[in-house]
């Protein structure tokens, strides 16, 4: 097993873990953490598989680089929404979950 394949499997594990956390947790900050871990797993999977036993793939790396910046922007936007929600409702969970 090459290094790329090993990290792809780590990515699979991280995505699964993140998905589990995302479903189980109710607190919105925790859900955001889980979502970010899931995203990191996906990035790892992409680059790991692209670099498995071949030359380093700059296309996959560029895509993941774009993805990381979009991920941080969406996290920041989610936090703005969360603060707004907390301010309006006083809760840090969504009403359907309670």
């Amino acid at each position: 097993m090459s290094g790329g394949a090993w990290y792809a499997w780590v990515g699979v594990a991280l995505s699964t873990l993140g998905f589990f956390g995302f479903v189980v947790h109710r607190h919105l900050v925790r859900r955001l953490l889980a979502f970010n871990i899931m995203g990191s797993g996906c990035f790892l999977l992409l680059v790991g598989l692209a670099g498995d036993g071949r030359a380093i793939d700059p296309v996959a790396q560029a895509l993941v680089l774009t993805g990381i910046v979009v991920a941080v922007a969406s996290t920041a936007l989610a936090l703005v929404l969360l603060r707004r929600w907390y301010r309006v409702s006083g809760e840090s969970v969504l009403p359907e979950d309670v």
């Binding site: 290094g3 900050v29 953490l33 990191s40 941080v72 936090l79």
Partner: protein, 89 residues
Amino acid sequence: MIGWFDLLLGLTLCTTAVGALASRDLFRAIVLFMVFGLLMALVWVRLEAPDIALAEAAIGAGLTGVLLLDTLGYLRRRYMARPGREEAP
């Protein structure tokens, strides 16, 4: 073949993720998530992707952590300003 360092790094990454997801204290969870971001930067170096490693070290460990901690501080402060709630945020 994978080296022992890759093996150890992957396992540590998974353990840190479990810690960040399962920790009862939210502050601790966020700090573990920042550690997770730094480890991810190491992984990118191992995968020979220095561009992503640079971005991840600045964003994943720094910016996201600051954003999350800032929000946590906000939630706690608002919670303190509001007596009579039984469940901590």
